[in-house]
């Protein structure tokens, strides 16, 4: 029986690939499978090589596979006329031509012969033969035109997929019925049926069939961006300010769509400096607030971020990484903003940074970010990337059945304020040198509260907030603010479940360490390495600041050598480990990738083998061996 389907739908930007694939993934989920999606698209509104890959099987799917086994190659409606030596190549055939390299042996191809001319695909016949591919040309466009409109060729393609895999159509039909109505629904259902019938007539040469599975409970399909937005909502965040930027726009848009319905406020403002400043203003006035951006937009938040640190204004910022520097490759994932997010803004950093490893962690860690930001009065940042942002996974519905937490954290009631220390000037001492708790947190009042007035300032300040350059006050305040980070680390260490994930035997000889969105890929690779007889253990790290020194030390002490896997060119995460621990450098090897595509499991496997067997790693990755001791 087929273990997994890895289905790729390819076409042009603006051709509806995204929504078609999302619906298909949902159908697969509904029929009992676990699913995982991966998006690839250009920074262009119309046309250009785009695909979405869905990996589905009866067992939990954590990552892309290596390659895929079913290609649905649609046309690109906005393909440009090719010319010789063209920058963008022949776009008309890209939905087919660009995807062949990764199609597994024995894979299935359905392409729209109405739009794609295989004569323009170099060496097509030969490659088909060499790889034992099964090719089914169909005039999907014609079918769509005949029974509905041209855009419905996506439906036709999905129908063909289902039929070829002998997949029960009811899930797809059900979804259409949920999403559409009237003539549009009719036409789509017709097309689906037409194609199904047409395929039934055909002869199949392939063995691939839809895997089957079942879920114990109701599932929901959602992306990292959904999960972040939901985490924020469940923590009582009711204010967001932002400015669009790929891929952060997804979280911003989701929040903007939900907030008015639940009595919250979303503001699209003039730039990201303002966006961050608004979030601070709203939080200061007593509302749980967030902002966020990507790349250059986050860079513009650098100064307000420091203001939040200095005024101890709670705020959550999200940063969705994409390939940099500068505008870089706006729709491609990378993990190269780690150092930027940790250190941008003048002065000693006093912030929290979490890098969730999957959809569920994105939800959990967004909640943790809010909790900590408000309890400890500092900025907390959720650092993720273009990959996690758009990656769909199924999660148990019950996972979300939790209590909301609108608690404002370290604040006082008017009664408490009346009891609290005030300075002779009349001001409430909102920034005490030695607050009662040993966390370094001095509770705040909210504007409008009686006798709670104080000054929040980005200058160094006395307990009541007045500007001060007194050296003793300075030391008391700065060290208290920094003490908060230690308290947070203690709190996180004391929690039942760590934000770090481990996989593999405790006593393994070798380690693989990664952070953020590459977690799933590394775990997948780990299984393969273990199957291949390697003695290896993996760690996925989410706590970037405060850093989990103890956990990381324990892990690295337990292994002889470790490989650090990250998507950037300067080994930033490895640098962070070295910085924080001041040792282990000679044990660490780096596996880097920065071509705009996330790691595939086989690349991690090959990278690992390069360490212990001295093999060449995959050509798309860069291997940086440990420093000689």
């Amino acid at each position: 029986m087929t273990q997994e389907l890895v289905w790729r739908i390819a076409g042009g930007s603006g051709d509806g690939i995204d929504s078609t694939s999302q619906n298909f993934a949902k159908a697969l989920m509904r029929s009992g499978l676990d699913v995982f999606t991966h998006r690839h698209y250009p920074s262009r509104i119309r046309g250009g090589h785009t695909y979405v890959e869905i990996r589905a099987g009866p067992e939990p799917v954590r990552s892309r596979g290596d390659g895929y086994n079913f290609l649905l190659a649609l046309g690109d409606s906005f393909a440009r006329n090719p010319q010789e030596d063209a920058y963008y190549g022949n776009e008309e055939v890209k939905p087919l031509a660009e995807n062949l390299d990764e199609l597994r042996e024995g894979g299935v191809i359905v392409y729209d012969e109405g739009l794609v001319d295989i004569d323009d695909v170099p060496d097509f016949e030969q490659r088909v033969e060499e790889n034992g591919w099964h090719v089914y040309p169909m005039d999907l466009r014609a079918i769509a035109r005949e029974h509905g409109r041209e855009v419905m060729r996506n439906t036709a393609g999905v129908g063909a997929t289902a039929a070829l895999l002998e997949y029960d159509m009811e899930h797809i039909q059900g979804l259409m019925e949920d999403r559409m109505s009237g003539d549009v629904l009719e036409a789509n259902l017709d097309i689906l049926q037409m194609v199904y019938d047409e395929v039934e007539e055909m002869e199949f040469s392939h063995d691939l069939r839809m895997p089957t599975g079942s879920h114990d409970e109701e599932q929901v399909l959602l992306s990292g961006s959904n999960a972040i937005a939901y985490g924020a909502i469940d923590e009582g965040c009711r204010f967001i300010a932002g400015y669009p930027m790929t891929p952060w726009t997804e979280v911003f848009t989701l929040m903007t769509q939900h907030l008015p319905e639940i009595g919250g406020i979303s503001e699209q403002v003039e730039d990201e400096i303002a966006a961050a400043a608004l979030a601070l203003g709203a939080s200061h006035a007593g509302v749980k607030a967030m902002s966020g951006s990507s790349g250059g937009g986050f860079a513009l938040m650098s100064e307000p971020l420091g203001l939040a640190e200095m005024t101890e204004t709670p705020v959550v910022l999200v940063e969705a990484m994409r390939a940099g520097p500068s505008t870089g490759m706006p729709t491609k994932p990378e993990q190269a903003d780690l150092e930027h997010v940790l250190y941008t803004s003048q002065g000693d950093s006093c912030r929290v940074v979490f890098a969730p490893g999957n959809v569920a962690e994105a939800y959990d860690q967004t909640r943790a970010a809010f909790r900590i930001a408000y309890d400890y009065q500092l900025p907390a940042i959720v650092l993720y990337d273009q990959k996690l942002s758009g990656e769909l996974r199924n999660v148990d519905e019950s996972f979300f059945d939790r209590e909301p937490n609108p608690d404002l954290g370290a604040t006082l009631t008017e009664e408490e304020i009346a009891e609290a220390a005030h300075h002779a000037s009349g001001k409430f001492q909102r920034f005490q040198h030695d607050p009662d708790n040993d966390k370094g947190v001095s509770p705040r009042s909210i504007p409008g509260q009686k006798d709670g007035r104080f000054l929040a300032t980005g200058n160094e300040h006395t307990p009541e907030g007045h500007i001060s350059e007194d050296p003793n006050n300075r030391v008391a305040q700065l060290s208290r603010r920094r003490r908060k980070l230690e308290s947070i680390r203690e709190e996180l260490d004391a929690e039942e479940s760590s934000h770090q994930t481990y996989h593999g035997p405790d006593d393994a000889d070798y380690g693989i360490v990664t952070f953020g969105s590459q977690q799933g890929t590394v775990l997948e690779a780990l299984d393969r390495l273990t199957d291949a007889g390697h003695d290896v253990r993996a760690m996925g790290v989410s706590d970037m600041m405060p850093f989990p020194d103890a956990e990381m030390t324990e892990f690295l002490e337990s292994v002889e050598q470790a490989m650090v896997v990250e998507m950037n060119g300067s080994a930033q995460f490895r640098g962070l480990i070295q910085k924080e621990l001041g040792r282990f450098g000679p044990k660490l090897n780096s596996l880097l990738k920065y071509n705009g595509d996330p790691f595939e499991p086989h690349e991690v496997v090959e990278g690992f083998e390069a360490i212990i067997e001295g093999d060449e790693p995959a050509p798309t990755t860069e291997f940086v061996p440990a420093a000689g001791d």
Binding site: A285, G286, G458
Partner: protein
């Protein structure tokens, strides 16, 4: 019951309540116009019966930005040029707060110019006081966006080659619904204008001429001043955009010819404030958001109830 009992007390408030019970005393230089802003703001708030705990005063960075250190209320001394986005969000979060933003001409028309334009455009219900001393005071006397052409300073040793910006006209063009200019040398007018500005339901921009004797000019150079409402030579309707625009243009030009025109330049009582616009399209709750966090009975919405679309 509100969680914010300082709000709407509507009691008699002595102007002394806005003076910190003890120091800090203002560190402004002797003769600085900034003292007059402090004084007239205290007077206006007292006239309006606002209590210190219901006011949020957000300031920028500059000598002017220190206003929040010497005016007793909730204060947010922000970063250079960013008082407006912080202030307007606080107003959205809790529309019951009396929100005032203030800063220098460098702060507001230089680095913060874009926020000025967009906040005015959105017509947030708040007052914005710009201490216009035609100079960067705190950084020691460099040319500012309102310094006259030809103005010499350490960073413009041969005299500025730039025409100054037109703050009143920019406010009007951008969409401010109340625009006035007053001067430190005329504290009575200043207090009246600030009172009106605070009462106004919309974005009120007050360009406040504050002499900087240390780097620029002293009070004498702003005298005599003319109140355009009091002087028969100036006859225009402050509710008429076109007439207001012309009067502003003249006023801005006159300043650099040594003629100090002050007064109300524009007042549009009909334009809706941003809060009410936003509420009317259903993008802002009727009750102040900040109150909700103190309402023990509020049933907080959960993502769990939004999952249908994901099934």
């Amino acid at each position: 019951m509100s969680a914010f009992n300082a709000i709407g007390e509507n009691r008699e408030v002595e102007r002394e309540e806005f003076t910190p019970g003890i120091e800090p005393q203002a560190t402004w230089c002797p003769g600085c116009g900034d003292f007059a802003v402090l004084k007239s703001l205290k007077g206006a708030m007292s006239d309006l019966g606002k209590s210190p705990d219901e006011i949020l005063l957000a300031t920028g960075i500059g000598c002017s930005g220190k206003l929040s250190s010497y005016f007793e209320s909730y204060g947010f001394h922000t970063i250079h040029g960013r008082s407006l986005p912080i202030a307007r969000a606080a107003k959205l979060a809790n529309p019951d707060l009396e929100v005032v933003a203030a800063g220098g001409d460098g702060d507001g028309y230089g680095i913060g110019g874009n926020h000025f334009m967009h906040t005015a455009r959105e017509n947030h219900d708040m007052t914005y006081i710009v201490f216009n001393n035609e100079i960067f005071g705190l950084t020691k006397g460099q040319t500012s966006p309102t310094s006259p052409k030809g103005h010499k300073s350490k960073t413009q040793p041969h005299g500025s080659a730039k025409d100054p910006i037109r703050p009143l006209s920019l406010a009007l063009t951008s969409g401010a619904s109340y625009v006035a200019r007053t001067a430190a040398v005329n504290p009575n007018q200043a207090q009246e204008i600030l009172t009106e500005a605070i009462e106004h339901d919309g974005f009120a921009h007050v360009d406040f001429l504050t002499q900087c004797p240390t780097w620029n000019k002293d009070a004498k150079q702003y005298v005599p001043y003319v109140d355009v409402q009091q002087n028969d030579d100036y006859d225009f309707d402050i509710s008429d955009r076109k007439e207001a625009a012309e009067m502003m243009y003249e006023t801005e030009s006159a300043l650099y010819e040594g003629k100090v025109l002050t007064g109300r330049f524009y007042h549009d009582e009909n334009r809706h404030s941003y809060g009410s616009e936003k509420r009317s399209v259903g993008e802002m709750p009727e009750e102040p958001l900040a109150e909700r966090y103190h309402d023990a009975d509020y049933e907080w919405e959960r993502s769990y109830d939004l999952l249908d679309a994901h099934k």
